[in-house]
């Protein structure tokens, strides 16, 4: 059976070239980068080389890159590290409703610690309006954090415009670029961001490696205290092979980005065009300003997990923002914040392509997906529509 991995936003296999770059650091050049002898120096050098590669991907200085263990750690570090470092200037933080849980839940932690957090609304395409950001700024605001791109609906936010506003007002600006970095051009200078989060596994690097860009001169309170690794800003024996892998993956992503993007976009457009022919199915996220490999939909009258499982049975791997497919059993807050009704949100399905995706994969998907929808709709009590609303607001199937 054909296998089509269309869940590249969830994670990616390691690129073989990245694996090859990493392997010497497991058993041979295994030293602790803090050690003074050659084995340590070699590990240290490897880390610094990777730091340069990651910096090059986002047009920063190497010294502005702090390695972390994940995108989630980078996000926690940024949000809490800056909020704490600036708490004497103010205790107001702005995030959007498009943010990943690692931002949202860090923001909620800050609320408990006495900060005020504004969760900005978004439009139907998931766009955070720069004007709304501007209006929400108060004298107390020290930090704005807006995701660069949403892994759920693919929307790319107007980071540059928001960056300009933040700069005007003298407010620190962080962007969660976990879904963007390595997949679309990300340039911290052009974007005007002060901090930016990344995760290697989002661009064929290893799991266990992330990074936070922190603009030179910016003070940040550590999340993990201890020794003097990462210039005293992030303690713990460095995960040398993973860092080396992140560097190599960043280098490859930079070199191959244009080609990867072009191919993904072509296939993605074909996918969207093909799927849009199915009845009662809607594209989610912005139609143009979206990740080039990202196609997300809501399918009316059926549920996402069931779609995922039937697709998987056909060798097609996808994601969903439905309540049942989330282990927290809640429909995607991102979809709801975009105004998608909570029953329609159950029919969420996300296809994210990768550099290995082919035209044939798309053809296969376009052949199988309509059958899956048909089967589930035949089973659905809502096949003829959501029916009337009952007292509690639920949909009553038509008799």
């Amino acid at each position: 059976m054909r296998k089509c991995y269309f869940d590249h936003v969830a994670t990616n296999p390691l690129d073989r070239r990245v694996f090859d770059a990493m392997t010497p650091y497991f058993m041979e050049a295994f030293g602790n980068p803090l050690s003074l002898y050659d084995l340590g120096a070699k590990a240290k050098e490897a880390i610094e080389n990777a730091r340069g590669q990651v910096a090059a991907l986002i047009n920063s200085k190497a010294s502005e890159i702090i390695f972390t263990s994940s995108g989630a750690e980078a996000n926690n570090f940024a949000l809490r590290g800056i909020a704490l470092a600036r708490q004497h200037e103010g205790k107001h933080v702005i995030v959007s409703k498009m943010e990943h849980h690692s931002i949202l839940n860090s923001a909620r932690f800050l609320e408990k610690a006495g900060f005020v957090v504004t969760f900005l609304p978004v439009d139907k395409h998931g766009i955070v309006e720069p004007e709304i950001v501007k209006k929400s700024i108060t004298k107390e605001t020290t930090l704005i954090s807006i995701t660069h791109a949403s892994s759920e609906v693919g929307t790319i936010e107007p980071i540059k415009e928001i960056g300009r506003i933040a700069k005007e007002k003298g407010i620190i600006f962080h962007t969660d670029a976990v879904a963007a970095a390595g997949n679309i051009p990300v340039d911290v200078k052009e974007l005007g961001v002060d901090l930016l989060s990344m995760a290697a596994h989002q661009f064929y690097g290893p799991k266990g490696a992330g990074a936070l860009y922190v603009r030179e001169g910016l003070r940040i309170v550590p999340l993990i205290y201890g020794g003097i690794q990462e210039n005293g800003r992030r303690a713990g024996t460095e995960n040398v092979p993973a860092i080396v892998g992140m560097g190599k993956a960043a280098e490859l992503a930079k070199d191959e980005m244009a080609a990867r993007m072009e191919q993904s976009k072509k296939l993605r457009d074909k996918l969207i065009k093909g799927v849009s022919g199915i009845e009662n199915i809607y594209l989610t996220g912005h139609p143009e300003n979206r990740l080039p490999a990202h196609a997300s939909f809501t399918v009316e009258f059926i549920e996402g997990e069931a779609m995922l499982l039937l697709l998987a049975a056909k060798g097609i791997y996808a994601a969903s923002g439905s309540a049942c497919s989330s282990k927290a059993l809640k429909a995607s807050p991102v979809l709801l914040s975009m105004g998608v009704s909570s029953n329609l949100a159950q029919g969420s399905i996300v296809f994210s392509l990768g550099k290995g995706s082919t035209e044939e994969d798309i053809d296969y998907l376009l052949a199988e997906f309509p059958q899956v929808i048909k089967r589930l709709r035949e089973m659905s009590p809502y096949a003829k529509g959501w029916g009337t609303k009952g007292e509690s607001g639920e949909c009553i199937p038509q008799k």
Partner: protein, 122 residues
């Protein structure tokens, strides 16, 4: 995540559909939470002689629906009423913990169908 039995009932659900002249119809759940089950029964001499279902929901919800229709067919009303969530889950070889609560609505939908049948009979 799911047992082979669940996957079997999910991918090859038994008794899908509606009974146009059903003696009782029961619906349970809410699409905003993810799962809705609708059960149609045909009753003769206090015995469920036909049963069909329609379900909006996840793999577990569909498998539960399929399983309960199998369990109930040919049973008396009282026997049917004795079927609990646990019975269904056990017959399926178990359900993931988080699915026990929200996707295991078969027994409730069945009870509502029986109530509907009884209220109409009066």
């Amino acid at each position: 995540m799911y047992t082979a039995k669940v996957m079997d009932h999910f991918t090859n659900p038994r008794n899908v559909g509606e009974i146009p002249d059903a003696d009782g119809i029961g619906t349970e759940g809410n699409p905003t939470c993810g799962d809705v089950m609708q059960i149609f029964i045909k009753v003769k001499d206090d015995r469920i002689i036909d049963v069909k279902f329609k379900t909006f929901g996840c793999g577990a919800a569909i498998a539960v629906s399929s399983m309960i229709t199998e369990l109930v067919k040919g049973k008396t009303i009282d026997e049917a009423l004795a079927i609990s969530k646990e019975t269904v889950a056990n017959e399926l070889g178990g359900l993931p913990a988080q699915k026990m609560h929200c996707s295991n609505l078969g027994a409730d939908a069945l009870k509502k169908a029986i109530e509907d049948y009884r209220s109409k009979k009066k």
